[in-house]
Structure formats: structure tokens, C-alpha cells
């Protein structure tokens, strides 16, 4: 993990409020890890945790949704602008240890970390991606996935409803899930019924990103864990969801 100033390679709007930011970072990154990004000096005071979307020769890509003050500033970045990055952070996912049929399940911008995960996996991969609005970032997955199931509340031509209605844990050897807590909780419950191993990527508010502030604590069977350094990837059955 390192703290440094890097340059923006590109920052592309892919959908209403959804951007892909490429930063010139030559780090060795594991799928499922993230960075704390800060593209401002003093205000807002905290950096923003954003997952690695994809790594390509010396460039780390981040896919993010504009929500508040921080991501708003990120969305205004232009090539050659400077960004402070702290990372890569977190346990990440040992993609090589998974075999067989694997389901990636995402809700909304939870799709962001899935691309680098898909790229690292060996088995047969199905993507289940749910959206409230128009789908995004899907095309990138075609190269790595066997089947892609997309739901959208808004656009025609997609299944309207929850991902959990079309997904069957029984079919899979491993499930990896990232999205709103309610969704992750539901997926973990479904997987429990079939004893399918399931991993979740947690998103808690963070201040330090290095394991020092204890702000990102999440409840697990073994007590409080820090999402930043003990996670963000947890065994689904270990997490005691609050949602």
C-alpha cells in the first residue's frame, strides 16, 4: 500500500451519472481490492473508497457513480489532472482458487469490482447484474462470461424484477456478490439453503483506509472486522448484515 499523487489518463462518462476513471498507477493489484481516491485538497476532508474495476498495463480503472460531493468532483476530472491515491487496499479475492461454475451478482454500481474479478477467474462465469436505471458496463463482460443476465427497472428489453428472482444458487460452485446490503443479505440466505459458498464485497464508510480508525467496522461471526483491511471481501455466511 502506498500514498501518492498520480495522473488521470481518462475519465469517461458511460451512462447518466456513471463514469470510468483511468489513473496512471503501476501497482500490482488483486481483484476485489480498492483505493482511497482524493482529487481535492482540503474539502471534503475524507478520501473516497473506490474499487478497482480493471487493470491494464500501468493503468488502473475505476467505475463509479456520482452520489455526493466527492464523486461529483471525480466526475469533473480531465486527463493530466492530479489525484491522490492510497492503495491498493484490502484482502481482495484469490480468484485462482475458484473452480467450476461461478456466479457474479451485482446490484447497481456493485458491478464495478466484478470486471477484474471476472478477468481473474478460470471457471465458467455467469454474470447477474441488476439495475434500477439503464444498465451499464455490461459489454466489457462478454469476453469473460458465458451468460449475462441483466435486470432493469427502467429500460425495455430487460427482465423487470430482482436479480434474486432469476438466480438459482444450486447451479453454482461459488457465488460472488456486490451490491446494496439488502441484496447481499438475500443472496447469502439463498446460497445457505444450497450450501453454495458465497463471497460478498462490503461497503462501509471509511476514514483512514488503513485499519487505524475502526470506522468501517462490520459485524461478523468472529466479532467486529475492519472492512478496509480485513475485507472488503468476506465469506457471506460470516457477515451479520445490518440491513
Amino acid at each position: 500500500m502506498e500514498y501518492k499523487e498520480v495522473l488521470v489518463y481518462s475519465n469517461i462518462k458511460v451512462e447518466e451519472d456513471i463514469y470510468v476513471l483511468s489513473l496512471i498507477i503501476g501497482d500490482d493489484v488483486k481483484a476485489g481490492q480498492f483505493y482511497m481516491l482524493k482529487a481535492w485538497d482540503e474539502e471534503p476532508i475524507l478520501a473516497r473508497p473506490i474499487s478497482v474495476h480493471s487493470v491494464e498495463d500501468g493503468v488502473v480503472k475505476f467505475a463509479y457513480q456520482v452520489k455526493g460531493r466527492g464523486t461529483k468532483i471525480l466526475s469533473s476530472l480531465k486527463p493530466e489532472d492530479k489525484v491522490y491515491v492510497l492503495g491498493p487496499i484490502g484482502n481482495g479475492l484469490d480468484t485462482q482458487k475458484f473452480k467450476g461454475k461461478i456466479a457474479l451478482i451485482s446490484g447497481g454500481i456493485g458491478i464495478a469490482p466484478m470486471l477484474q474479478i471476472a478477468k481473474g477467474l478460470d471457471g465458467e462465469i455467469d454474470l447477474y447484474a441488476g439495475f434500477n436505471k439503464s444498465p451499464y458496463l455490461i459489454d466489457e463482460f462478454r469476453k469473460y462470461c458465458t451468460n449475462i443476465y441483466v435486470t432493469s427497472e427502467k429500460d425495455e428489453g430487460y427482465f423487470k424484477g430482482f436479480i434474486t428472482e432469476i438466480f438459482n444458487p444450486f447451479e453454482y460452485n461459488v457465488v460472488i456478490c456486490c451490491g446494496p446490503e439488502v441484496m447481499m443479505k438475500r443472496v447469502v440466505e439463498m446460497c445457505k439453503n444450497y450450501a453454495t459458498p458465497v463471497y460478498v464485497l462490503m461497503e462501509n464508510k471509511m476514514a483512514c483506509g488503513v485499519g487505524a480508525c475502526l470506522g468501517c467496522a462490520c459485524n461478523t461471526k468472529e466479532g467486529k472486522k475492519r472492512v478496509c483491511v480485513d475485507g472488503p471481501v468476506f465469506k457471506g455466511t460470516d457477515v451479520m448484515f445490518s440491513a
Binding site: E42, E43, I45, L86, A212, C213, L214, A217, K224
Partner: protein
């Protein structure tokens, strides 16, 4: 040039890292050279392990942040066993921040720390007094005085008492703590604040209230450090919203012997190092040979 003698301990520079914002030091070791710091202060320690609070624990606000960690820590025994040795390897003074929810807890905690080779105890009196209905020990001087007296009697380590800015009368609080045996005063801890989630129509934090820190509190913290420095004759350690060397120099000119960097570590993990360098350059530019020349000059 930056060295400070404080309660008989030699600090190579006046810049420490504040309790709860720097873990046990190791967390930052990959990012900065921890051995360059003036000293390390541990996360708040309690006699027994604490899991801390449920729900949201941090919330960003303009100019600062609210936290409600709830003193999550491994307990003093586990600290001694697992973390103390690691902290010592940086070769800088180690201050153990001690919390508690009853006088007995504080005393027992101090007794255990007394047997270790930490350099100093920082007594955090901002904890809720569970026995007396949850009001902080740090609000009323008379209550604080009791805790300080008891802890004083149970350790020979230098004792620094960390004041809460929520105290009814910060100067009287400091004076009473010194009367009760404090060797030094540090201030300030976080301000009692709150935030509301207007969509959920309830407080952001499970405990309703949380502690405000960061640049937002600096002008008030600085004022308190100034007032207390004038009022007591033990050395003062100042903190609250320091994010650059200019802030640090203000605290020193207000009377602080040492300063602590808290929230700024989150804004920029290199903040403490940059502040050390910045103070040094400021002194060179202004032809100041020793901090004694400017400390309390205001």
C-alpha cells in the same frame, strides 16, 4: 531545533499522533516513516476488550467529521501482549491513552500500564460514567478531579489528562486536574455534535450524538489551549483540527509544548510528517532557533 522536553521525556519534535486516529502505529508503517514522529499515542484502551458501537461510526460534515467508534479496543492486557512491542520498535515515546467507564476501571487500567515500559499515560476523561448514568467524567470539574486523583495514586508514570471541550468550564477543569496530580494537560477531545438523516428521519448515529473533529473545531480548540496554557503551570499538549504547519505553529504560540495530529491523518496520511517539515522550515525562515522562543508568545 524541534526537540521538546515534556514531563521529563525527550521528544525529538513536538508532533504526535492523536489517540484513535493512528491505531497502534503499525497501520501507517507502509505509508510513512513512523519513526520520524515526535511520539505515538495509542487508540483509547480500556481494562477489558470493547467491541465499540453498532451502526454508522463515521459521518463526514463540512470541515470535519463526526465519529462514534465507541472505544473499540482489544483491552489493556491484549495491548501489552500484542501491540506494545511493535510500537516500541519505532524508537519514539509511547503514550497509552486510557479510557474507562468507572473509577475502578480507570485505576485498574492505570495499574497495569504502570508495570509496562510505556512512557506516559494520557487519561481520557471524555468517557461516559456508566455508574452515574452516562454523563461524561469530563463535564464537571469536581467529577474529573476524583478520577484524576485515583489514577494519580495508582501509577508513577507521567500522567497527562486529556480534557473534553464539552467541559462546563475548561479552565477550571484544567486547574482541578492539575490540583489532583496531573503532570500535563492535553486538549481537546471531540465536541459533542450530531447529524440527522433527513430521508430516514432519524439521527445518523445509533447513539444520536457523536464527536466532531477536524478543521471545523480548530478556532475553538486553539482558544481553549490558549486559555488553559495561561492558567496552569504544567505543560500543555494541544490538538483539535490541526491540518498544516501553520495551525501547528498557532497552537505552539498559544502555549502548547506538544501538539497532536488527528483527523488530518485521514485527510492526508503524510500530514504529520509534512507538519514536522513545515514547522522546521518556518523556524528557519523566521530565524527561530528553538521552540522556546515562540511557545506561548501570544
Amino acid at each position: 531545533m524541534l526537540d521538546v522536553k515534556f514531563c521529563g521525556i525527550d521528544f525529538k519534535n513536538p508532533v504526535l499522533v492523536a489517540s484513535g486516529t493512528f491505531g497502534f502505529g503499525m497501520e501507517y508503517e507502509k505509508i510513512i516513516d513512523v519513526s520520524r514522529l515526535g511520539g505515538l499515542i495509542t487508540k483509547g484502551l480500556t481494562l477489558n476488550k470493547k467491541e465499540g458501537n453498532e451502526g454508522i461510526r463515521i459521518h463526514e460534515v463540512r470541515g470535519g467529521m463526526l465519529n462514534s467508534i465507541g472505544l473499540q479496543n482489544p483491552g489493556i492486557d491484549e495491548f501489552i501482549e500484542k501491540y506494545l512491542e511493535g510500537m516500541k520498535k519505532y524508537g519514539v515515546p509511547i503514550i497509552a491513552n486510557l479510557g474507562g467507564s468507572s473509577i475502578e476501571d480507570y485505576v485498574k487500567g492505570a495499574e497495569r500500564l504502570d508495570k509496562t515500559d510505556i512512557d506516559m499515560i494520557e487519561l481520557n476523561i471524555s468517557c461516559p460514567n456508566v455508574k452515574e448514568g452516562g454523563m461524561n467524567f469530563g463535564i464537571k470539574s469536581s467529577v474529573a478531579k476524583e478520577v484524576v486523583k485515583s489514577v494519580r495514586a495508582s501509577t508513577k508514570k507521567p500522567l497527562m489528562v486529556k480534557l473534553s471541550p464539552n467541559a462546563e468550564d475548561i479552565v477550571d477543569m484544567a486547574v482541578k486536574c492539575v490540583e489532583a496530580g496531573a503532570d500535563a494537560i492535553s486538549l481537546v477531545n471531540t465536541f459533542k455534535g450530531m447529524a440527522i438523516d433527513i430521508y430516514k428521519r432519524r439521527p445518523v448515529f445509533n447513539n444520536t450524538f457523536a464527536g466532531l473533529s477536524g478543521p471545523a473545531i480548530k478556532p475553538i480548540a486553539l482558544r481553549m489551549v490558549y486559555e488553559v496554557s495561561k492558567a496552569v503551570d504544567v505543560p500543555v499538549c494541544g490538538l483539535g483540527g490541526i491540518i498544516d504547519y501553520k495551525d501547528a505553529v498557532e497552537f505552539i504560540m498559544a502555549g502548547a509544548h506538544l501538539i497532536q495530529i488527528g483527523t488530518a491523518n485521514f485527510m492526508n496520511p503524510r500530514a504529520s510528517i509534512e507538519i514536522i517539515e513545515g514547522i522546521e522550515r518556518f523556524m528557519e525562515r523566521e530565524n527561530i532557533k528553538s521552540l522556546d522562543e515562540i511557545r506561548g508568545i501570544v
